[in-house]
């Protein structure tokens, strides 16, 4: 960990009052946890008291002060999943990974955590590993999920995808359709989202043909820059939970109308993408 790396993150959010959570998110994205030294650097740089930083870091469940594993495995313990046997599944994960919820395996591969609701109660019990939803899980499938994750969920899926077909997608936050029939790309309605890169900000249109990488944008984006994508309706960032399997840049996730999630790499020019139709009957 280098202090100047942390400082550059702090500088990025400078003047942003209450930007503490964004700073922590960026630090956590970089190191997978919030190192104690990083908190000290942030405290010095922002002039906040370490007590306040520690209070925020410990309050939110998404922040961890201990190093986390490569794969985050969340077992839903919400009411619907609970009555369908989530505690048994949580116990099975704990037994097989030999950790208790909230802990990381000694080989730093898995972090097991329980969450209170993932909002997909009809598909319960739900387990989410690195942004991949596994629905109607029973204890017999636990071993299979762990094995699949060790093999690499993303790589396995990209290899399997050699299809080209039309997708209808919507925002994962507000569920508004992102389709734009007025501006077809590749002869089919395009996907319109808002993109920002550096100081530039404007629309970007993607081809809705899965497997096509045709893109039109309002402003020029240099190859290899990572672009932030936003929903044009609710302005939520369309950030996915996982990193691109090809270049490790954050993935952009959108909901597929037919069910499931499609993720594309946020790096201009990278062709990392995946379609996750788990639990939707495909």
């Amino acid at each position: 960990m280098k202090a100047d790396e942390i400082l550059s993150i702090v500088d990025k959010h400078e003047g942003d009052r209450g930007g503490l959570i964004s700073i922590f998110e960026d630090i956590q994205a970089k190191y997978s946890y919030l190192p104690a030294e990083a908190l000290k650097v942030v405290a010095d740089a922002t002039g906040r008291s370490p007590v306040d930083l520690y209070a925020v870091a410990t309050f939110y469940k998404s922040f961890s002060l201990k190093p986390r594993g490569k794969h985050l495995c969340s077992v839903c313990m919400g009411t619907a999943c609970h009555v369908r046997g989530a505690p048994v599944i949580g116990g099975e994960f704990a037994r097989q990974l030999k950790v208790t919820p909230g802990e990381t395996t000694p080989d730093k591969e898995f972090t097991l955590e329980t969450v209170n609701c993932l909002g997909a109660c009809a598909l319960g019990p739900i387990v989410v590993v690195d942004g991949h939803y596994f629905s109607k899980v029973d204890s017999a499938r636990v071993k299979q999920i762990i094995k699949k994750t060790r093999d690499g969920l993303d790589e396995a899926e990209i290899k399997a995808d050699r299809r080209v077909y039309l997708l209808t997608v919507s925002c994962s936050r507000c569920n508004h359709s992102l389709m734009d029939p007025d501006h077809p790309i590749d002869g089919s309605p395009s996907i319109r989202v808002t993109a920002s890169s550096g100081r530039e900000h404007g629309w970007i249109r993607l081809s809705s043909l899965y497997g096509s990488f045709t893109v039109e944008s309002e402003f020029g984006i240099r190859t290899d820059t990572i672009v932030d994508f936003f929903c044009p309706h609710c302005h939520a960032e369309l950030k996915g939970a996982s990193a691109c399997p090809l270049c490790r840049a954050p993935m952009i996730s959108m909901i597929v109308r037919a069910g499931g999630i499609v993720q594309i790499c946020s790096r201009r020019g990278c062709k990392g993408h995946m379609l996750d139709l788990n639990g939707s009957g495909f």
Partner: protein, 225 residues
Amino acid sequence: MITLVINGLEVSVEEGTTLLEAAQFYGFPIPTLCHMEGLSPYGACRLCVVEIGEGPKAKLVSSCTYPAQEGLRVRTASSRVLQARKMILELMLASCPQSKTIQDLASAYGVRQQRFRQEYEDCILCGLCVRMCEEQMMAKAIGFRGRGQTRSIGTPFDIKSDVCRLCGGCIYVCPACQLRCTYTEPEKAICGGCANLSPPCVEKDPFDDMMCYMEPCVACEIDKN
């Protein structure tokens, strides 16, 4: 000036006064725990609840954080208020039975039983020590950590704070603990101020029946080492 009615008595107070200050100024007693003059109101213990409004719209509010409003009708000791207060005290007894302050309040407000699962916490998270440290001692050495069941008060990472001056203010204001001081574990010690006090039980020989309320006794622990 704002005119309001407290327990049927029309009173006037300056703008910005809280209901608690108004009631206390006019001599209506309201018990408090997390309130202290000189510290910002926090509204954590809810012991200072009063009833405002009329009829079906009447509601309970914490008087220490509620500003006086023109024409407000306040009842500081209605049966609803007394009932709520008793329940709050009962819950506090359930979590922190060894606190002298809570015991005294419970006895004063006629709480004779405790129907909940008994716990033995040494903190009720009233935040007095946190505010004392920040607002009066200008240190910000301790703060809240975590949330929900695991919420606690202490220094970041449980390491002795650089900005702590061992003033002992946090212990002085604490209504719940005789044990916040953890001098016997120097790494975790919040203040270590007790090391500067004369041991309370050294001269207890002349008082055979005197009981030391500190358990484990700091002085005795030091003596043993």
